[in-house]
Symmetry: C2
Subunit: 340 residues, 2 copies
Amino acid sequence: MAASTTTSKPTPERIFNTMIAFQETEALKAAIELDIFTAIADGANSAGAIAAKTGASERGVRILCDFLTIREFLTKNDEKYALTQEAAIFLNRHSPACLASMVDFLASPWSRKNFGGLTEAVRKGGTANVTGDHTKPHEEVWVNFARSMAPLTIPNAEFIAGLAGAAEGKPCNVLDIAAGHGMYGITLAKRNSNAQIVAVDWPAVLEVAKENAAKFGVADRFSTRPGSAFDVELGEGYDFALLTNIFHHFDIPTCEKLMRRVHSAFKPGGKVIQLEFVPNEDRVTPPMAAAFSLVMLAGTDAGDAYTFAEYEKMFRNAGFAKTTLHPVPDMPQQVLLSEK
Amino acid sequence: MAASTTTSKPTPERIFNTMIAFQETEALKAAIELDIFTAIADGANSAGAIAAKTGASERGVRILCDFLTIREFLTKNDEKYALTQEAAIFLNRHSPACLASMVDFLASPWSRKNFGGLTEAVRKGGTANVTGDHTKPHEEVWVNFARSMAPLTIPNAEFIAGLAGAAEGKPCNVLDIAAGHGMYGITLAKRNSNAQIVAVDWPAVLEVAKENAAKFGVADRFSTRPGSAFDVELGEGYDFALLTNIFHHFDIPTCEKLMRRVHSAFKPGGKVIQLEFVPNEDRVTPPMAAAFSLVMLAGTDAGDAYTFAEYEKMFRNAGFAKTTLHPVPDMPQQVLLSEK
């Protein structure tokens, strides 16, 4: 959708497109569910051939593939479809960078329900869903997250491994809180064969992380502490703690409480590495980080996309004298690094 | 969402944004339901003032208004929100061009359900919903359409009144099939005080059209024939027939059947005026007309956005020797004019 606000004569086109924007999600989701991108990667290029390969109707495939062409996920020439570069890299299941699984979480029934109650959430100032207290286990939600969202972690996880000096290979103990799929700790362990990872999350979620640790060959250095990050015994003597995509779920006092628990588990000189959507002070830039606040309004009781100043103050209150901000190249999230 | 397919290094941003595009619809819908745009037009400009005026929470309003700012429906300066020109014209309920009601149809539960079954619709080649045969009454759907979608008709209706020579003021009988809100016939009657309109639609839908005819002062020249366009006695001796947004609901034989019924109700020299989304032969341009095909796949058993060549052939088979295409300035739909 092009912004029409700067043209001299406004048209209703952008408003119309926003009112039907949900169709975009459904079209991409249907194409992923039918695995149309992989079928085209495998050589099917006409509506008939794609239909045969995906078990769908030729008419349905023709209409969906035309829509995907209009949206520049495909090209169409002489009734033959092909993948755009973007689709070939990110939507074809043969590609190591394939992100297709993310739709299972981003457009899950849970997420739809959160946003389906958005009017009520704006009225009350927090989610209209019953799952808004994220200090409580909602294992079905977070197992889905862990199974779906691992592909997007790669650049962030590599960046974090770099910040943690993984290439130096020094022995270190790493606490990964709200580990989810576990890929941040696992990536660090892959890059530093002397790193030991302790992952904290709900029991069913840690099963996914353990599968990934085995898959990436670091299972012998990957242990778990199942339970709430607010209650479970965290252990002590850690060099690094990873807290990725967790603080935005809570209000400020809860964030400070969690950070104080982390503080007490640390060696002097230990570092906490956070990954978050961090909007500027205006809260409307940069767009992806700032827009994330709405996801928290829709889905949590009191979570938010906090600014750097807010995080710096929270972490200082919890005992971390210094916090610095580190943009991840080409990614919407940012890394914060807090030192004890 | 910016197209990233032409950049040298594809990023996952556009795919991510498409997976969460449904959030755009929900945000705009919530803002319309809370009437935030009108509150700002009425002078509320801080989150607190907007919250007080709309009965919502300040926190919820702040987050939603920030999101609307990111999406360029609002501006934000020094914590004060203002309407963009686009929002002032099309989303503020004081504006005569306000389109806010359209979200009630475009993002209705019925439309969501149609698109929620899109994967199955692609598999079978037609809607997965039970309401796919649009020759049958689904009055709840079409009353909602009639109540919600009238605002978008204005430019098209004025264009059609012009094509029908309304300014000349000649006496004429006009048959408006699938009249819906009735605004095409009503606009023609407003522009030609010697025009008599006969509207055909389901009974409950015609009640909305009659309200509009009274509102615009043409009730004395507006009569109705309730029932199916395929069965009801249409009458005869018409100079013009209006068939707006109807053919796309059906397969080709059904379109031809309807057009033959219209043909027999006509004076020699009579003209049929259709309004449709008409994609080019490639079926992927222009984008809005071509994308409409997916709406028909999702919601009908066998409807489509037909090309001009397809329409020309259907109408010729039904007895209309000549059909011409007339783009409506600045609008995605096109008018077809068929002569007996």
